[in-house]
Symmetry: C2
Amino acid sequence: MNGAESLVRTLVAGGINVCFTNPGTSEMHFVAALDKVDGIRCVLGLFEGVVTGAADGYWRMADKPAATLLHLGPGLGNGLANLHNARKASSGIVNIVGEHATYHIKHDAPLTSDIEGIARPVSAWVRTSPSARTVAADGAAAIVAARTAPGQIATLILPADTAWNEADGVAAVAPVAAPTPVSAEAIERCAKALRSGAPAMIMLTGRAVREHGLALAGRIATTTGARILAQGSNARIQRGAGRVPIERLPYPVDQALAVLKDIRHLILVGAKAPVAFFAYPDKPSVLTPDGCQIHQLSTMAEDSIGALEALADAVGAKKNGEVVQQPGRPGLPTGALTPDTLAAALGALLPEGAIVSDESVTTGRGFFKQTAGAPPHDWMNNMGGSIGLGMPLATGAAIACPDRKVVCLEGDGSGMYTVQALWTQARESLNVTTVVFANRTYAILRGELANVGAGTPGRKAADMLDIGRPDLDWVALARGMGVPASRATTAEEFNKQFAAGLAASGPYVIEAVV
Amino acid sequence: MNGAESLVRTLVAGGINVCFTNPGTSEMHFVAALDKVDGIRCVLGLFEGVVTGAADGYWRMADKPAATLLHLGPGLGNGLANLHNARKASSGIVNIVGEHATYHIKHDAPLTSDIEGIARPVSAWVRTSPSARTVAADGAAAIVAARTAPGQIATLILPADTAWNEADGVAAVAPVAAPTPVSAEAIERCAKALRSGAPAMIMLTGRAVREHGLALAGRIATTTGARILAQGSNARIQRGAGRVPIERLPYPVDQALAVLKDIRHLILVGAKAPVAFFAYPDKPSVLTPDGCQIHQLSTMAEDSIGALEALADAVGAKKNGEVVQQPGRPGLPTGALTPDTLAAALGALLPEGAIVSDESVTTGRGFFKQTAGAPPHDWMNNMGGSIGLGMPLATGAAIACPDRKVVCLEGDGSGMYTVQALWTQARESLNVTTVVFANRTYAILRGELANVGAGTPGRKAADMLDIGRPDLDWVALARGMGVPASRATTAEEFNKQFAAGLAASGPYVIEAVV
């Protein structure tokens, strides 16, 4: 078998069953090998940001990596922003990036570039395979790197001749080490802080905001009086009726400062010490108050669940002592379509088992509260702040969980970065209902212009923040990519369209004019 | 004035009058400064690949750099593929990339990344400005770097506090050195080769394929019997009736080998020694035959026009001795819409002064010949091979040349990468007529799969090459972004729609179903 086939067979042997692709000439042997080998589903994206964002969504829901297939340095470049987001979410991805044949690189043909240089800022592991005989082993190492806790970006660069030359066969994939256990000393330090009686907060993310982690944190909170809070953004929160409810740290600095102002002990479970998303003149970068002691119970690479179990024991938390969310939905809203009525409609209609891909930016700041008592569901945020993740993330989640409904909550500004995701949803008949909040502006920037003290926007500045003139027609855009769509301008219209989208098989887009 | 204002005023003083933007929070002071300072037009793109590709097109037509405004590392990442293309075209661009405030970077907030690392593979010059007092001088240095022959990518990273803190004022922009003159020895070596009587070819690109360079090359060819040929891709060829006609080196390796097979002396004017775009098993990388001597008359950084003038003198070429293209257009085609009838329609209708942005890939291989006798026009290719440049390039060219008609020839696969360019064309009412060749496939890859010997595509592989299922509806996509559009399925329909598009003020899209 050739190198490409040895690599694809190694990927399948290593548990990789999906490859999100946007291939070119240098990847043709790899494509032929994907064709030949069973056990790996190929999903085409028309733009590489769709491919890499989908791989992020797949990891979050499948808890194992997908592969991507990208065309040389520029193809990787197009996928870079969503790889940045994936890296910040600690998602594991195996990127296969085509390269010219080893002997061709020196000729500096048009597509020649420094692929390793482009890969390094977003990758924990980068390797250019030197020959067809090493490709399988390099692929196996990439899988191990991607699966290493908490999940990492591994980029394997595949010169074309290493794909077409004769290989030695499939490589064995080494077992992946379990997350590092947390020391007894760290647990005792946190337990002591919680026992001190001073106001304490446990800030969680990663595995700790899944159902079991939240139950443990909830028990600890009940026993000690500590508050629990999730990071501002999280890869996947399991929430809804019957689960321990958790709020997130607000994005606006003043609100975040207010939430944290009385805390004397902050215990971090997977989370990082809270800092402002951006710096602003006259506002602090560090959000914890002076005198607040920060205790890292576990990092993302460590075993947060084991640490919470040990901490629950250390503070004598009662089994089943956690307070869970009672079921409850708001009534269907009527009247104007506003962030508030949209929040109510989501709360009223979100189906059990839904997976929410939330890139609603400013419009969605009230969505979390109104959906708290909906049936159990998962909620995914953009962890890296590079907008344009929502629709790809939804796409990958839908591939990972074909029996669940994905709800994508998308800003109109954000959605345009990777709008090509809709085509992949149509091709693969994915169960994704997308709501685009059409406020015709980068609304967040209007606030930020004021926040940074840059004054009131004049005409030229306003034009840079405003994405109307002309208005985007999301119904036309969606239909142009084969996705049925409709426009809602009142709460009543939205309720009806959202219910219809959820009931439909396959993708659906609603332009919610707010 | 603050750092942002000092930088914007320096840009304007340095001759930068257009800024293609996709800003975020960290760039708000820069946006406010753009608002305040006259002399710089701001053009918003809804995706950064539009922004950087437009800056490339602007350079090619204006012969001076535009600025771009990008949001931190991921925003730069989204612009990377078209910066790669711009670098390969030797286009000068001044990228302004926002960054967190200097004191905020260490907190590793969600958008923190290695911006310099992302910039380096595509930039000749990279600098992170350390303070508001250095920003203007750093901007002046960036302009000089961008304008240094043949044109370079300069990336200035602007931490937010260097924008909002107090600055020292506007910096002087140093004069830019003229392109390096070519040595008398190089000219004599090339003259000697041309006088030898052995079959010779002059391969040109850069300034040498503009009108004056081609006239000089044509005179040399007339006198010496040498053939002239342009590189496979060129930033801007000036062609049409009354100009010296020039063909390009074909993309398919076998055709390129056939064109070059008898050449004994190859003289390179700006051009690089010809190599295959990709490597293929059993085909050579180097396209010149054994025994062909290669003489570099000038590199892209050198003065190709001066070198051609000296060479023309050295071989005794007669003034006005060049053979120019006679006017002549094919008749309007009838019947089925095919690459051949499309070529005839373009030849019949291309208006005088048109600027062609050619990313027609496989469909367009016959376009060059049929448009040779059209009235004078410019023809731009993708130099870096990363598809998704055509529509942004057309956008930037239209900003540079508001009085000319831009014709964008775009593959349907290529067009989807940066489809957001259409919105910018609508907002700015740009005179761009786009023809999308809807063959519902990455047609080039079907040929390449066979070329690399990867066999006949099976179902999974065919799905990776085929972009139908569902078909893209380009009329809907264009209208969704505010651009009028129509679909042509016969030559007669196409003739009528293309003429209407050219006659219209503002952008127009034709989906040509082939």
